[in-house]
């Protein structure tokens, strides 16, 4: 047994201090953003931002929701591409990881290398852009929002190492009972791998939900703009108006009336919010899923 001494307690208190400090560091900036989004615009302009709203106002949200069509459309695009990409991503990657985790699969070495090599070498941005736009002609489609990013070698490897921890005897005895490979995959392997599947699903969903770059590259059609890219453009337009308000003269008066500063923050809240709600549900699987993947990988 390790003795509890005064020094021991002090060390523990110090550690908690450091950990609490960093935890605050992570959460406070987000609370600040929420607080600003709920502040009165005129007060913000006079007194600057503050940690807590001095004058409470939902003006920023009202302003954004007066013309909600673009926002709702962007939500729809992002939700759809996230769901499609996550469902098919997890399905395809687990389908491939199952054979690749089997010691008796003949092409295991070759296919694993084929997958792994994409982590070591890539064609780069420009060839990818040309393949997507010239060869596959996917620009301005919903597909392009997830197809280039929904399969990743890292996640396949994470799944392979998780599947390997399933006793091979279970697979063998099912085979003796006459089950087909697909049945074994669907009925035995998948149900036993919930932590790994949830982890990979979360990683893929996160990537797709936060995707702005593919939109910026491939989407010109207004109705297919994703949430993050839409927000980026609104921010840019606001910045542009702000920088040019002296030049445009009348613009300044106009700007004073719009909830500019608080609206930026409200948009950040709206864009990040849904992920924040989903996250705790995955959390319980997450540490376990990542653990097996990283330790054995």
């Amino acid at each position: 047994m390790i003795e509890k001494t005064g020094k021991d307690v002090l060390v523990k208190v110090l550690m908690h201090g450091v950990l609490v400090g960093f935890a605050l560091f992570c959460i406070v900036p987000m609370l600040v953003v929420i607080s600003i989004s709920l502040s009165d615009e005129k007060d913000l302009l006079i007194n600057g931002y503050s940690l807590f709203p001095r004058i409470f106002s939902s003006g920023a949200y009202d302003y954004i929701l007066t013309s909600p069509n673009a926002l709702l459309n962007a939500y729809g695009v992002t939700i759809l591409s996230t769901i499609l990409g996550t469902v098919f991503g997890v399905l395809f990657m687990s389908m491939a990881a199952f054979p690749l985790s089997r010691p008796d699969f003949r092409y295991k070495g070759w296919i694993t290398f084929y997958v792994f090599f994409t982590m070591l070498f890539s064609g780069g941005l420009v060839p990818t852009y040309l393949v997507v736009t010239q060869v596959l002609q996917l620009q301005d489609t919903l597909w392009v929002l997830f197809l280039p990013v929904f399969i990743s070698a890292w996640n396949v490897i994470l799944l392979i190492s998780f599947f390997r921890s399933i006793p091979f005897e279970m697979v063998e005895s099912a085979k003796i009972d006459g089950a087909s490979e697909v049945t074994i995959y669907w009925k035995i392997v998948l149900p036993m791998s919930k932590p790994a599947l949830a982890t990979v699903a979360l990683l893929v969903a996160l990537r797709l939900w936060n995707e702005w770059f593919t939109s910026m590259l491939y989407i010109r059609e207004q109705s297919l703009v994703s949430l993050q890219f839409w927000m980026q453009r609104v921010m840019q337009n606001m910045q542009f108006l702000l920088m040019n308000q002296d030049v445009m003269g009348g613009g300044a008066a106009l700007l004073g009336d719009l909830p500019n500063e608080s609206a930026r923050m409200a948009m950040a809240v709206l864009a990040a919010g849904p992920m924040m709600f989903v996250f705790p549900f995955f959390q319980k699987y997450f540490a376990k899923g990542l653990m097996v993947g990283s330790v054995k990988g």
Partner: protein, 294 residues
């Protein structure tokens, strides 16, 4: 046979979006004309690589990329392992869970959202930092044109984003250490610090090595969002935040110079591949084949 069929979707997707672009690298040696397509455009030898010797820009952006990434590769494991060990030592299940959740939050935000969060702190007129320094009598700073501060802001934001994720990975690694080792160390009279040095660090080292090799393989690749979104695309700040990916992006979207863009990408990928192979070989050599990625 059935097993092979299960692999087909992944093989096809990777072929289309990873292997076809690799074949597209031939464009680095071609004068790309949209009408002639990738295969029909004429060969021009090494002409697309001329800008490497013609201007210093590529070396500047390479320097930026490598320096930022080196800082991340070194600082991330030090801080994350530190936090992971602290989580492990405090040993309170409920608290550990709460810490993990909070640490992990920044990882969930897109760079667009992070750029808005940072704007709340850095805005010249309303920002919290300027309000705070005004209290102690310092004049407001125009952060979005204060180029000297940006290497630190970028570093800070990158770490803020990544530390939680890495802490969880290292914490998971700690959980996998056999408790018997700690008990044996305690019986031998090892204190907290000695247990850390002689049990925790050696047991975690393989994970750290793997994470570092992965980092080194990506040392020529920057997380584009961090460098593009965070400075709100301020032109003044470009010299401080210009990285190879940003340069390629401009070659593609602003200059429309596909040949040059491909050439930069090839340079990035080849350097990255060489570095991974060398680091992995070195790591295996030094540890006599025990530690490495493959």
């Amino acid at each position: 046979m059935e097993l092979l069929l299960l692999c087909i979707p992944v093989i096809v997707v990777l072929f289309l979006f990873n292997y076809l672009p690799m074949a597209g690298i031939v464009m680095a040696f071609k004068d790309f004309k949209p009408l002639d397509g990738i295969w029909g455009s004429p060969w021009i030898g090494m002409k697309n690589f001329e800008f490497f010797v013609r201007s210093d820009l590529i070396w500047n952006v390479t320097f930026n990329t490598v320096m930022y990434n080196l800082a991340f590769i070194l600082l991330t494991p030090i801080i994350s392992v530190g936090f992971a060990v602290m989580l492990n030592e405090t040993g309170n299940r409920v608290m550990v869970k709460a810490y993990q959740t909070l640490f992990f939050l920044p990882y969930f935000l897109s760079w667009v959202v992070v750029s808005i969060i940072f704007y709340a702190f850095l805005s010249t007129e309303n920002g919290l930092i300027n309000s705070a320094i005004a209290v102690i009598g310092i004049e407001p700073v125009s952060w979005y044109s204060e180029i000297g501060a940006w290497p630190y802001i970028i570093l800070f934001a990158g770490l803020w984003n990544q530390i939680g994720y890495n802490t969880i990975i290292y914490y998971a690694g700690l959980m996998a250490i056999d408790p018997a080792l700690y008990e044996a160390a305690a019986i031998d009279g090892a204190g907290r610090w000695q247990r850390f040095l002689h049990v925790t660090l050696p047991m975690l080292s393989n994970l750290v090595v793997v994470m570092m090799i992965l980092g080194i393989g990506k040392i020529f690749f920057a997380d584009f969002g961090l460098f593009y979104q965070l400075p709100l695309q301020s032109g003044t700040l470009l010299p401080a935040v210009d990285v190879i990916n940003y340069f390629t992006y401009r070659a593609l979207m602003q200059l429309g110079d596909y040949g040059m863009g491909t050439a930069i990408g090839l340079y990035q990928s080849v350097m990255g591949l060489i570095l991974v192979l060398v680091t992995n070989w070195l790591s295996r050599k030094v540890t006599k084949g025990e530690q490495g990625l493959f």
